[in-house]
Point group: C2
């Protein structure tokens, strides 16, 4: 039962955000009523935090392992990371928008959750490994913030503007999938331009 609730809550929170999701909505989705919800999670906030924990930990990635394999080329490593994120985002297309929205509403909530789950540490290690290669002259010297910005902006933007794309570019799901595949090559090309020594 507890799981049923968390699943329904996660789906609704991700789709519409914290503020615009009501407890009644979650209750009817589960098939029970409000008071029953409060029995399992005393407050809306507690419930949201439980959901956040699950989401953040699903993003703690094996993904970052890929960055560590120095024997592989930049293109190969970036490709693996993109694939991992694509898989996650394809199942939850509104996840990037959700993270951004809640990061703006209450940054501490997400950041603290990430700290508890050692996400920042894992990410730090991965970025430090990139830094090493820069120091060795194997990669261009670029600030890690810029590496982060370039990668995540390009990765997330198509998902962030999914609604718009459907209306403006008339993208259906099939079209979107094809586009993502081409877009992956674009991200790789841009990251190579950023990082590879010429």
């Amino acid at each position: 039962m507890e799981n049923k609730i968390i699943n329904a809550a996660r789906a609704l929170f991700i789709e519409k955000g914290y503020a615009e999701t009501s407890m009644s909505e979650i209750a009817t989705r589960v098939g029970i009523n409000r008071p029953a919800l409060h029995y399992y999670f005393r407050t809306k906030d507690k419930m949201f935090q439980a959901v956040i924990g699950g989401i953040v930990s699903s993003i703690i990635p094996k993904v970052f392992d890929a960055l560590m394999h120095k024997e592989k080329s930049v293109a190969e490593r970036i490709g693996v990371v993109i694939d991992a994120y694509y898989e996650l985002f394809w199942e939850n297309p509104h996840l990037p928008m959700f993270l951004l929205r809640e990061l703006n509403r209450d940054a501490d909530l997400l950041i603290n959750s990430a700290k508890e789950l050692n996400v920042l540490e894992t990410m730090g290690k991965a970025l430090a490994s990139v830094q090493e290669e820069m120091d060795e002259g194997k990669l261009n010297k670029v600030s890690l913030q810029f590496v982060f910005y370039n990668f995540y902006s390009l990765l997330s933007f198509p998902f962030l503007t999914l609604n718009m794309a459907q209306k403006v570019f008339m993208n259906d799901q099939e079209h979107f999938r094809e586009m993502l595949s081409d877009w992956k090559q674009n991200i790789i090309a841009q990251m190579r331009n950023l990082l590879e020594v010429k």
Copy 2:
């Protein structure tokens, strides 16, 4: 008075979004009470639409003119466009997040407003002009959707993650301003990599 209301409403809507901004909040900010608000704009929705109109029209850019000047290099033209957006976003740092949030909440509202103000047409012309140069072989052949994605993702991402940057990268305002200046060069470099024939 009507203007005073619109200004207060715009500031609040941009900062916190439609759902999390209440009429009472706007009223106290203006210095009157709720019923007085409803006198000027009958419903919250009507008021929001009035605000949206002003915001969208402020983005209809002279910006796009810059793209038309074919005699200038890609780098020069992109630079001008970035400056125009930087100016707008510097005064309203939460504007990109606002647009994205409302685009996800109610895409039609924004798109219809954009249609009324001929934004899509202006944008279409600018993109068509880029298309021409591709046909002439002066620029790489890339889908216009990708040109759009590359530019706007890189442009908006630092603003979208402003809250996070302040907490994670310890960026104060001064630091952020410097970073933006370097970031501009990064956007130009990436757009050149995308568009320039080698």
